[in-house]
């Protein structure tokens, strides 16, 4: 019964707040699952809380998306770092070898591994060089991730503050009405 009520409230909120904004390759079911879990934890009482819950889900989703994008950036631009590494190691045809390595060519992979091993380097050095090549982009993505996390935390703070104020108001109203308010007992 409770699950049915939750689903009804969720569909109503989705109807008013609009559908999830997903990009290609993202699973709608995974997003719905995340939203349902957050809703179950927060149990929104009104439309404002529904908005917050939706925002928290959206921002959590965005952080995950940005993390994925950052990983993709590092993967897609790995050949740039490798090019820089091979150039400094004075390997011939370094640009061509790097592009073949990215395409997964076995001979190129062997050449790269041999060159790196001879210089005492690992694939982590290539990653580090890739980061230095794409530092601006990585920094921008990191900044956006931080901003999204801060916003998400800020929304949770607002929600908490609002509920605390509401609880205080209710307590005051009950006191004025003369109703006894039970204070929580430790170890009860």
């Amino acid at each position: 019964m409770n699950t049915v009520t939750n689903e009804l409230a969720m569909s109503r909120a989705t109807g008013v707040l609009g559908p999830a904004l997903l990009i290609a390759g993202e699973s709608g079911d995974a997003y719905d699952d995340l939203l349902a879990r957050i809703r179950a934890a927060v149990a929104p009482a009104d439309m404002l809380e529904e908005i917050w819950v939706r925002d928290v889900a959206d921002l959590a989703w965005e952080v995950t998306r940005l993390r994925r994008i950052k990983a993709n950036l590092m993967q897609a631009c790995a050949h740039e770092g490798l090019t820089a590494a091979l150039r400094s190691l004075e390997v011939r045809n370094y640009s061509f070898i790097a592009s073949r390595w990215l395409a997964g060519d076995t001979a190129a992979v062997q050449t790269v591994n041999a060159a790196l091993a001879a210089a005492g380097l690992t694939i982590d050095s290539v990653t580090a060089l890739t980061v230095s090549e794409r530092l601006d982009e990585v920094e921008r993505i990191e900044k956006m991730m931080t901003a999204a996390e801060e916003r998400r935390d800020g929304m949770l703070r607002e929600l908490e503050m609002r509920r605390t104020q509401l609880a205080a108001k209710l307590k005051l109203a009950l006191n004025e009405a003369g109703a006894p308010v039970a204070s929580p007992q430790p170890n009860a």
Partner: protein
């Protein structure tokens, strides 16, 4: 510095080219400066206006006061702006631009989202602080000495004492005759005199008859 001759030539050339002439050309050039349209208010778009109205109704609920409805409208407008920015971000992800251009644009869009979220946050706080329908009545009567209907009373002698400021429901005793201070003092003195048995003739003879001379 531009010479006078060159300036004249520029002006002459400018007169030859007067921009787009056809309606299609004008429509196209009108959108030259448009990048994502997020600086434009959502209220100028009919579809977004409908979304704002629907959301505002859902936030304010049935029978909300005017002030709450206004706050809910502000929240809804800000939320629609937030969603607009997120939609623009989604479109940017889907466009498949170069990494450099993509990340720069994403950061720029983020600025719009931050502003809209800030607007929404403060609008939400205002809504929580806004009084309910009963509170609105409180505000309406704030500082008034009497309700409007009774202010036009044809009995001006029934002056009404100033009610407690901001009292929403007028208490039973609010309609009472205003008595001048000197009359109150006199009544108090008479009362005291009556209690002490020192009643003056002038004030009481018409009620009590002749004074008891034996006393």
């Amino acid at each position: 510095m531009t010479s006078a001759r060159k300036r004249c030539a520029n002006r002459r050339n400018a007169r030859k080219c007067t921009g787009p002439r056809t309606a299609a050309g004008k429509a196209r050039s009108a959108r030259n400066a448009l990048r994502h349209g997020l600086a434009r208010s959502a209220r100028l778009d009919l579809e977004l206006m409908r979304a704002i109205a629907t959301l505002a109704r859902a936030i304010a609920g049935e029978g909300a006061s005017d002030q709450r409805r206004k706050c809910a409208d502000r929240i809804a407008a800000a939320h629609v702006e937030v969603m607009r920015v997120r939609r623009a971000k989604r479109d940017l992800y889907m466009e498949g631009r170069e990494w450099d251009d993509f990340s720069k644009r994403l950061v720029k869009l983020d600025r719009y989202e931050r502003r809209a979220l800030s607007r929404r946050k403060f609008a939400m706080r205002r809504l929580d602080a806004a009084p309910t329908a009963a509170g609105d009545a409180w505000l309406k009567n704030f500082g008034k000495t009497k309700p409007r209907s009774l202010a036009r009373s044809r009995r001006p002698h029934r002056r009404i004492t100033r009610c407690a400021r901001g009292r929403a429901n007028w208490p039973r005793g609010w309609l009472r005759r205003r008595v001048p201070r000197w009359r109150v003092l006199l009544a108090e003195r008479n009362q005291a005199s009556a209690t002490a048995g020192l009643i003056t003739r002038r004030q009481t003879d018409h009620k009590r008859g002749p004074p008891d001379l034996a006393a």
